[in-house]
């Protein structure tokens, strides 16, 4: 890919990643959504986080890995416990990262 191609690619990607983020806020804030749509939208956040968590823990390399060698599954457990107990993003991240570092260097 030439230098020019790369710049065209960057601008193209930038446009298609900007439009879906900006357009709904730009166009829809004028309207009042009907109740059922609001309710449906209220499920988007739990749904997205459910699937992001599943993919990042159970398929960390891009394919599903349910084996005991998948460190992400082991690190998932203490992180979930701490998240529920403390409801703190900071402590959850700390425990997750430290667990992962220990697993990587000493166990799996």
């Amino acid at each position: 890919m030439s230098g020019t191609d790369i710049w065209v690619m960057i601008v193209g990607v930038s446009i298609v990643s900007m439009l879906p983020r900006v357009l709904p806020v730009a166009l829809f804030t004028r309207y009042e959504f009907p109740e059922p749509l609001k309710r449906w939208l209220s499920f988007i956040a739990p749904a997205v986080l459910g699937s992001l968590t599943a993919v990042s823990v159970l398929a960390p390399e891009g394919f599903i890995d349910l084996s005991i060698h998948n460190r992400y599954i082991w690190a998932f457990l203490p992180t979930l416990l701490v998240a529920i107990k403390t409801r703190s993003l900071f402590y959850s991240l700390l425990v997750g990262i430290v667990t992962m570092a220990l697993l990587y260097n000493y166990f799996l």
């Binding site: 806020v25 993919v55 823990v57 599903i64 992180t79």
Partner: protein, 230 residues
Amino acid sequence: MQKQELRQGINDSVPIILGYLPLGLAFGVLANEVGMSIIQATVMSFLCFTGAGQYIAIGVMQAGGAVFTIIMANVLVNLRYLLFSTSMVPYLKGRVPTALGSFLSYGLTDETYAVAMKRYQDHSPTVSYIAGLNLSSHIGWVASTLLGAILGGYMSNTERLGLGFALPAMYICLLVFMIKRKSDVFVALSSALLCLVVGYFLPATMGNLFNIIIATVVAASLGMLFNERD
């Protein structure tokens, strides 16, 4: 500008930046390897701010693919932002001016979305908060890319430091925050299962994250079957 809100936004971006650090570094290193200059890699992170999309670009470039392929793959990957952005509208309405809200939505990512939605559970959105959260996350992404592109091969293995688990840990915690109703548990679990099943049978969707879009839309619709009062 409300200082307190701005500061809160910046504070809330710290875990996000921690998660972006290894990903941005790695992007900088890889971009260099597939022939992008330091400036191109950094400008790409600034203009695009889409981790998954930028990694796809690297993958396609490595395979000798076309610019058009990269852009089309990014259209797919970024479709989920349509859902995120739309689901924020009821919160922003009447509280954040449309022009500013639209401008700041450029900084919408999986992570800034989830952190902001958590905040809006008990606080009204403000321009200052969104600016603090989105802009500092954006700066973190650009800075870590720049660092990665400069350091190139000299980078030590960030996996060793456990940083590879920063984003998953954040998703886990934000997932816990998002669960308020029985129906949320059901929706989150269905979505988790669906995206794995779709990804298993259509492995390509695992790479371009389309499985997440399918799972989200179906699971949110399943949630409508519950007729509990919130």
